[in-house]
């Protein structure tokens, strides 16, 4: 059973560009959350998707947007990249049907903005 997968592994962009990151949740999971983890910091919640809709959002600007597809996979889009967007972007999946709703994280996409 594959766990949470993310692509690409690494990405280098320049300021002002746009980026799309992808996530496939663990089999049987229907909820996807995205987190940003700056170097030396804990992950910060960006938003959560369930039933193809954004259900919760953290304190991130509108430059950060997302999408969830019918197969539960998800994309994170970041527009007008800033140097401060350089971070590890983590996807976490869970299921509202399972007791506790524990989260399982993917390996992350490391984004570098030059």
């Amino acid at each position: 059973d594959a766990g949470v997968t993310q692509s690409p592994t690494h990405l280098i962009k320049t300021r002002g560009q746009q980026v799309t990151l992808r996530c496939s949740p663990k089999s049987g999971h229907d909820t996807v959350s995205w987190y940003q983890q700056a170097l030396g910091q804990g992950p910060q919640f960006i938003f959560q998707y369930y039933e193809e809709e954004e259900r919760q959002r953290g304190n991130f600007p509108d430059r950060f947007s997302g999408h969830q597809f019918p197969n539960y996979s998800s994309e994170l889009n970041v527009n007008a990249l800033l140097l401060g967007d350089s971070a590890l972007y983590l996807c976490a999946s869970s299921s509202r049907r399972l007791a506790g709703g524990e989260k399982f994280f993917g390996p992350g996409t490391r984004l570098t903005v030059l």
Binding site: V4, T31, S33, Y35, G40, Q41, G42, P43, Q44, F45, Q48, Y50, R55, Q56, G58, L88, L90, A92, S94, R96, G100, G101, E102, K103, F104, F105, G106, P107, G108, R110
Partner: protein, 112 residues
């Protein structure tokens, strides 16, 4: 003031020692508490998951939650070099509240 405070360390201990990690928090609504282990350049891995106050043991790991003090702990017994990682505490208020609030993480090195 951050919602979740965690001493970033670093913490260095000899093999076989007990590792003690802790977090404090300010939001009294938090009910679900987790500890994650994160190896360098990897995603966090769920270690322990507890609900409300009390203790939970899983092999060499023990998690404690004291909601009255807003304080949680993780103990690692008989530590091994493979336990060298960053340990993150995380918490949330509701079962279906999928926003996790994380501490900054404590970096642990277990010396052989």
């Amino acid at each position: 003031q951050k919602e979740v405070e965690q001493d970033p360390g670093p913490l260095s201990v000899p093999e076989g020692a007990i590792v003690s990690l802790n977090c404090t928090y300010s939001n009294s609504a938090f009910q679900y508490f987790m500890w994650y282990r994160q190896y360098s350049r990897k995603g966090p891995e769920l270690l322990m998951y507890t609900y409300s106050s009390g203790n939970k043991e899983d092999g060499r790991f023990t998690a404690q939650v004291d909601k009255s003090s807003k304080y949680i702990s993780l103990f690692i017994r008989d530590s091994q070099p493979s336990d060298s990682a960053t340990y993150l505490c995380a918490m949330r208020a509701l079962r279906n509240d999928y926003k996790l609030s994380f501490g900054a993480g404590t970096t642990v090195t277990v010396r052989a």
